[in-house]
């Protein structure tokens, strides 16, 4: 089955709110050998983008968008439990949202993808204040702090976080995903080692940083 057809089937099942069908499809494709990278990049992420676009255009309600997010969240949890990384890099990545950011799905994708690439991953999700993230970096001692950011209003707290991190844990590499605006990137750039343009780019860039 070609990937576009798989995406169509998955979206159709999500639209129907049929999570069992979504899970069955994922299991079926897994048995057929579909790599997680393709599942994430060519099916799950495009499906979420479609749902986001339809919500934005008022073609569907917020509940449908949340149903889609929850199904994808469950699939990522399943993949996190069952995945077997090919090799271990011996490096730790702490993954989560910037402070004040509540959209944490991108961080879940990144946590799974980094783990599959051999990283030891500590995933903290969202809604963690600046002080606690800095403290956790001291506790887990990650080689890489991988942050995701979507909302403009998180900029202030993100800068505070990065400034504190550089002052207290200068050796930790920092990667941020989710920002495309060049002007926003330029504000954060003095404190950031790499901006991830996509999930695949993020994993590659993390490998290069390590």
């Amino acid at each position: 089955m070609i990937i576009q057809e798989q995406l169509r089937l998955f979206v159709e099942s999500l639209r129907a709110g049929d999570r069992r069908r979504c899970f069955m499809l994922v299991r079926e494709w897994e048995q057929q050998g579909l790599p997680n990278e393709l599942l994430y990049n060519d099916i799950l992420i495009p499906a979420l983008v479609q749902f986001g676009d339809h919500w934005e255009k008022n073609e569907q309600g917020i509940v449908e968008e949340h149903v889609a997010s929850q199904v994808v969240r469950q699939i990522l949890a399943y993949k996190a439990v069952t995945m077997e990384p090919e090799a271990t890099l011996g490096r730790t990545a702490m993954v989560g949202c910037v402070p004040d950011e509540h959209h944490d799905l991108a961080s879940l994708f990144m946590a799974n993808a980094l783990e599959e690439a051999g990283w030891r991953v500590v995933h903290y999700g969202s809604s963690v204040p600046v002080h606690d993230i800095v403290q956790a970096v001291g506790h887990y001692k990650p080689d890489l702090l991988c942050l995701t950011m979507k909302s403009l209003s998180c900029l202030d707290a993100t800068l505070q976080l990065l400034e504190q991190l550089r002052a207290t844990h200068a050796g930790v590499k920092v990667m941020i995903g989710g920002i495309s605006q060049p002007s926003m990137r330029s504000i954060l750039a003095p404190h950031v080692d790499v901006f991830a343009d996509s999930l695949t780019h993020g994993v590659q860039a993390a490998g290069d940083l390590a």
Binding site: N58, L152, S153, L155, D156
Partner: protein, 142 residues
């Protein structure tokens, strides 16, 4: 990029004015929301409970984003957000006057609450933003 995004600048706004705006943020949000709910042109739209809820959320988020983009000199990011918001509201049948009115309300509130801190430069930036929004609304109407 939209040429007006390049001409819009926040560079003349003093740090003290931005701090004053941040201190008065809650009052500004309340005043802008009140302004919208007093507008005749928006009355029938905001009589709808869900649209009224969205309007309140829009004011909160716009205020946060305005503050962040002014503080870090990111006019293009604010323009990008307003372009997104315009499409979002249009698809929910909000009148094109909503965003210009929201900006007018903010200008009035800034003038009222930041008098001692010097509100002129923030008001000037809001006036340019409003002019751009009115231009966009005319384009949609054309």
């Amino acid at each position: 990029m939209d040429p007006s995004a390049e001409t819009l600048s926040f560079s003349s706004i003093a740090a003290a004015d931005i701090e004053a705006f941040a201190r008065q943020k809650e009052k500004i949000v309340t005043a802008v929301t009140d302004h919208l709910f007093r507008c005749d042109v928006l009355a029938s739209t905001l009589a709808d409970t869900e649209k009224a809820r969205l309007a309140r959320e829009c004011v909160k988020i716009f205020t946060e984003n305005f503050l962040a983009t002014v503080k870090y000199q990111l006019p293009a990011a604010l323009i990008e957000y307003l372009d997104w918001l315009r499409g979002f509201l249009r698809s929910r049948e909000f009148p094109a006057a909503f965003i210009p009115q929201m900006i007018s309300g903010m200008r009035n509130a800034v003038h009222a609450f930041l008098e001692d801190a010097g509100s002129d430069d923030i008001c000037a930036a809001l006036r340019r933003l409003r002019a751009r929004e009115l231009g966009q609304a005319r384009e949609v109407g054309a």
